[in-house]
C-alpha cells in the first residue's frame, strides 16, 4: 500500500513539470489575479515546430546524441571491462581520471579545449561536438558498465571458448546478451547527458553547430514563458519516447520485471 503511494508521488513529481509546460505553452496573456488565461493559442507552439532553424537544431542534436551514445559504448565497454576484471597498479588512479570531469566545471575544460579544437580543425564540426560531449558522458557510462562487470562471471566466456567459439562470437553471443540491460542503460544515459549539453556545445560548436539546448537557452534569456515552455516540450518529447522504448530494461528485479535480453 505504502509502496503504491510512493509510486504515485514519484509519478506526480515527474508529471507536474510537463503539465506546467503544457499550460504555459498554450496559455496567452495569463496574469495574476486572473484565474484563467485570457485565451488559449497553439500558434506559437506550431510556429516553433515549423521553424527551419529549430528543425535543423533538432536533427543535429539527434545526430550528436546518437553518435555520442555509440562512441561512449565503444570506448566505455573496454575501459569498464579492464578496470573491473583486471587488477593492475594504477587502477584507482585511472578510475579517478575517468571521474574527474564530473567535478571539474565544463566551462573550465570547454574554453581550453575550444582553443585546442580550433587548432585541430575540430571546432565547429559535428564530430568535434560529439568528442567534447564524451567528457561528461564517459564517467557515467564507465560507472554503469563497471558495476555490471563487477558482478560479471567470466566463466561463461571461457565455457564458450572451450567449446570452440571465436572471440568475436563470444563477444556477440555471450558477453553482449549478458550485459545487454546495462549496455542499454549506459547508452540511454549517454544520450540524455549529450542531449542536454549546453556550455560545451556552445563553446566547441562556435555557432556553426546549433543544438536544441542553445535555442532553449537563448529563449530563456528573453523570459517569454510561452516560448520557453514550447521549446521545453519539444526538448523533452524525444526523451520521454526514448525512456518509454527502453523502460523494460530500466525496471529493477524488485518490481518483478526481470530484464530479459
Amino acid at each position: 500500500m505504502s509502496y503504491r503511494i510512493i509510486v504515485w508521488v514519484l509519478a506526480l513529481i515527474l508529471l507536474v513539470p510537463i503539465a506546467v509546460f503544457l499550460i504555459y505553452a498554450f496559455a496567452q496573456g495569463w496574469f495574476f489575479p486572473a484565474l484563467w488565461p485570457e485565451r488559449w493559442d497553439s500558434g506559437l507552439f506550431l510556429r516553433q515546430l515549423a521553424d527551419p532553424q529549430l528543425r535543423r537544431a533538432f536533427g543535429q542534436s539527434l545526430i550528436i546524441a546518437t553518435g555520442v551514445s555509440i562512441l561512449a559504448l565503444v570506448l566505455g565497454y573496454p575501459a569498464a571491462r579492464v578496470l573491473e576484471l583486471q587488477t593492475f597498479r594504477g587502477r584507482g588512479l585511472i578510475y579517478g581520471l575517468f571521474f574527474l570531469p564530473t567535478v571539474v566545471p565544463s566551462v573550465a575544460t570547454g574554453i581550453g579545449l575550444n582553443i585546442v579544437f580550433l587548432r585541430l580543425g575540430l571546432a565547429g564540426t559535428l564530430f568535434g561536438v560529439m568528442l567534447v560531449h564524451l567528457i561528461p558522458v564517459l564517467p557515467y557510462v564507465v560507472l554503469t558498465l563497471g558495476s555490471s562487470f563487477a558482478r560479471y562471471d567470466r566463466n561463461y566466456e571461457q565455457q564458450a571458448a572451450v567449446l570452440g567459439a571465436s572471440p568475436w562470437f563470444v563477444f556477440w553471443r555471450v558477453s553482449v546478451p549478458m550485459l545487454l540491460p546495462s549496455l542499454v542503460v549506459a547508452g540511454v544515459l549517454a544520450f540524455l547527458i549529450s542531449w542536454s549539453q549546453y556550455v560545451l556545445s556552445l563553446l566547441i560548436g562556435g555557432g556553426k553547430i546549433i543544438t536544441l539546448p542553445m535555442l532553449l537557452f537563448a529563449a530563456a534569456s528573453g523570459g517569454n514563458q510561452s516560448l520557453i515552455a514550447s521549446l521545453s516540450l519539444i526538448f523533452i518529447a524525444p526523451l520521454l519516447i526514448l525512456l518509454g522504448l527502453v523502460a523494460r530494461y530500466l525496471g529493477s528485479p524488485a518490481t518483478g520485471a526481470t530484464p530479459r535480453p
Binding site: L118, G207, A218
Partner: protein, 427 residues
C-alpha cells in the same frame, strides 16, 4: 607473451598521444588560411556586392525574443536572398558575451578565419572587442547608406562613451521609458521626476522597484544614472570627459536618494529584479506599478508578445531619460566580410528602418538613421508615416524628444554599479 603485448599497447598509445601533441603544435604555427577581407575595397561597392553573391552571412544575435527573431528572418533574410543572393544564417545567442569569448578563443588559437560575420553589439562587449583589436576597421562610415546616419551626433559616434571610429554601424536607437497599466492608473497620476517617483513609492509601499544595476543590466545602471542627473541639478555638467571631482561631489546625494527610496520599494529593497523580463513579469502580475523599456514602440512589442497586459502604456519623466544607439560590428576574422558589409548596409535602408519601428513587425526599437537626412520624398514619407503609426502604447514623440539625454563617459558606469552595490544593496 602477456608483457610483450602490454609494451606494444603502451607504444601505440604513446604514439597516438604524441601525434595529437604534434598536430597541435604544427597547426598553431601555420595560419590555416589567408583572410579574404584584405582584398575588399569598401569604396568599390559594386565589387563588394559581387563578392557577396552566393555567400552566407553568419549573424550572431541575441536570440531571446521570438518576435525579433522573426523580424530578422522575414525582413533581412528575405531581402538579402532576393536582392543579393545572400543566405542569412541567424545564430541565436543567450548572451552576446559568448561571441566575445568565441572570438578571443579563435585569436588564442591563431585562427585568421573564424565563424562570425556580423554581431549585434554595443557597450561593454564593443569595448572588449575594440580593445582586443578583433574588429574590422574603416567601414562603418563608408557604407553607401551611412549617408543617412548622423555621424556628428555624439550619441551615434560614441558607444557608452567609447568612440565608434567606423568599427560599427548603427542598427537602431533606444530611449529609457517607463511602462504603466492604463487600466489601473491615469496619466495625470504618473510621477514625472525621480522626486515624484519617491513620493509615489512611499504613498504606495511595495508597488515600485527597478532593475538592479550591474554588468549585463544596463537598464538598472541607467535608471540610477538618470537619478544622478536629477539630484545634481542637470545632465549637461556630466557630458564630456570623466570628472572624478564631480562624482565625489554628487554621489553621496545619489546614495541618500536611493536609501530613502529603498524602504518604500517592493520587498523593501531586500531584493531587486535582475533583468527587464523579471520586471515585466512583476508588472504584468500586478506586483509593481511600473516596468521599464527602451523600445520606441513603448509597450507595443511587449503587448504583442503577451509579456504585459494590453492596457500597458509607456511614459517618460519630464527630463533625464537617456537614449542611445545599438550597432552591428564585423570581426576581423569574418569568413564572409563582403556579405556582412552588404547586410550592415541593408539594415540602414530607409524602407527597412521604417519597418523596424512598427510594433506589429516585432522589433520595435527606434531609427538608427536620421530621417531628416533622407531626401527622397517617397522614402521620407514612409519614415514619417511609420513614426505616426506607433499607436497608443508608445510614448508621444514630443515627450521623448523633450526628455532625451545622451549617455555619459564609460567610467561612471562601473562607479555607479559598484557604488550602488556598496551603498544601497549592502546597507
Amino acid at each position: 607473451m602477456q608483457t610483450r603485448k602490454r609494451i606494444w599497447n603502451l607504444a601505440v598509445m604513446l604514439g597516438l598521444v604524441s601525434l595529437i601533441i604534434a598536430s597541435c603544435g604544427s597547426n598553431a604555427a601555420t595560419p590555416t588560411s589567408t583572410p579574404s577581407s584584405t582584398s575588399l575595397d569598401i569604396n568599390n561597392w559594386a565589387g563588394i556586392e559581387q563578392a557577396a553573391n552566393g555567400q552566407t552571412v553568419n549573424w550572431y544575435i541575441w536570440g531571446g525574443s521570438d518576435s525579433i527573431n522573426r523580424f530578422v528572418d522575414q525582413f533581412y533574410g528575405k531581402a538579402l536572398k532576393e536582392r543579393y543572393n545572400i543566405t542569412l544564417n541567424r545564430v541565436p545567442m543567450a548572451d552576446t558575451v559568448d561571441v566575445v569569448n568565441q572570438l578571443l578563443s579563435e585569436k588564442a588559437a591563431g585562427k585568421t578565419t573564424g565563424a562570425v560575420d556580423l554581431i549585434w553589439i554595443n557597450g561593454e562587449n564593443f569595448a572588449s572587442l575594440k580593445q582586443a583589436n578583433l574588429l574590422r576597421a574603416d567601414w562603418g562610415q563608408s557604407l553607401p547608406n551611412s549617408k543617412y546616419v548622423n555621424w556628428a551626433n555624439p550619441a551615434v559616434n560614441l558607444d557608452f562613451g567609447e568612440p565608434v571610429e567606423s568599427l560599427e554601424s548603427p542598427w537602431s536607437s533606444a530611449q529609457f521609458q517607463f511602462i504603466y497599466d492604463s487600466a489601473k492608473l491615469q496619466a495625470s497620476e504618473l510621477p514625472r521626476s525621480y522626486a515624484a517617483l519617491k513620493e509615489y513609492a512611499c504613498a504606495n509601499p511595495g508597488k515600485v522597484t527597478y532593475i538592479a544595476p550591474g554588468p549585463g543590466a544596463f537598464q538598472g545602471t541607467r535608471f540610477v544614472k538618470q537619478a544622478l542627473f536629477e539630484v545634481s541639478g542637470g545632465a549637461e555638467q556630466w557630458l564630456g570627459k570623466f570628472n572624478q571631482q564631480l562624482w565625489d561631489q554628487w554621489s553621496p546625494k545619489l546614495w541618500e536618494y536611493f536609501n530613502q527610496l529603498e524602504g518604500c520599494l517592493w520587498r523593501e529593497g531586500s531584493t531587486y529584479p535582475k533583468t527587464e523580463n523579471e520586471l515585466h513579469s512583476l508588472f504584468a502580475n500586478g506586483e509593481v506599478d511600473f516596468s521599464i523599456t527602451q523600445a520606441i514602440a513603448g509597450a507595443g512589442s511587449l503587448i504583442k508578445d503577451n509579456l504585459v497586459p494590453v492596457s500597458a502604456r509607456a511614459f517618460v519623466f519630464d527630463d533625464n531619460m537617456i537614449g542611445d544607439f545599438n550597432y552591428v560590428a564585423i570581426p576581423s576574422t569574418a569568413p564572409n566580410p563582403a556579405a556582412a558589409l552588404v547586410l550592415a548596409n541593408l539594415i540602414l535602408d530607409p524602407e527597412l528602418q521604417a519597418a523596424q519601428i512598427l510594433p506589429e513587425n516585432g522589433f520595435g526599437l527606434g531609427y538608427g538613421i536620421d530621417p531628416t537626412k533622407v531626401s527622397d520624398p517617397a522614402l521620407a514619407a514612409k519614415l514619417s508615416n511609420a513614426a505616426q503609426q506607433l499607436g497608443d502604447a508608445a510614448t508621444p514623440a514630443s515627450d521623448l524628444a523633450k526628455s532625451l539625454r545622451s549617455d555619459i563617459a564609460a567610467e561612471y558606469q562601473s562607479l555607479i554599479e559598484q557604488g550602488w552595490e556598496a551603498n544601497v544593496l549592502r546597507k
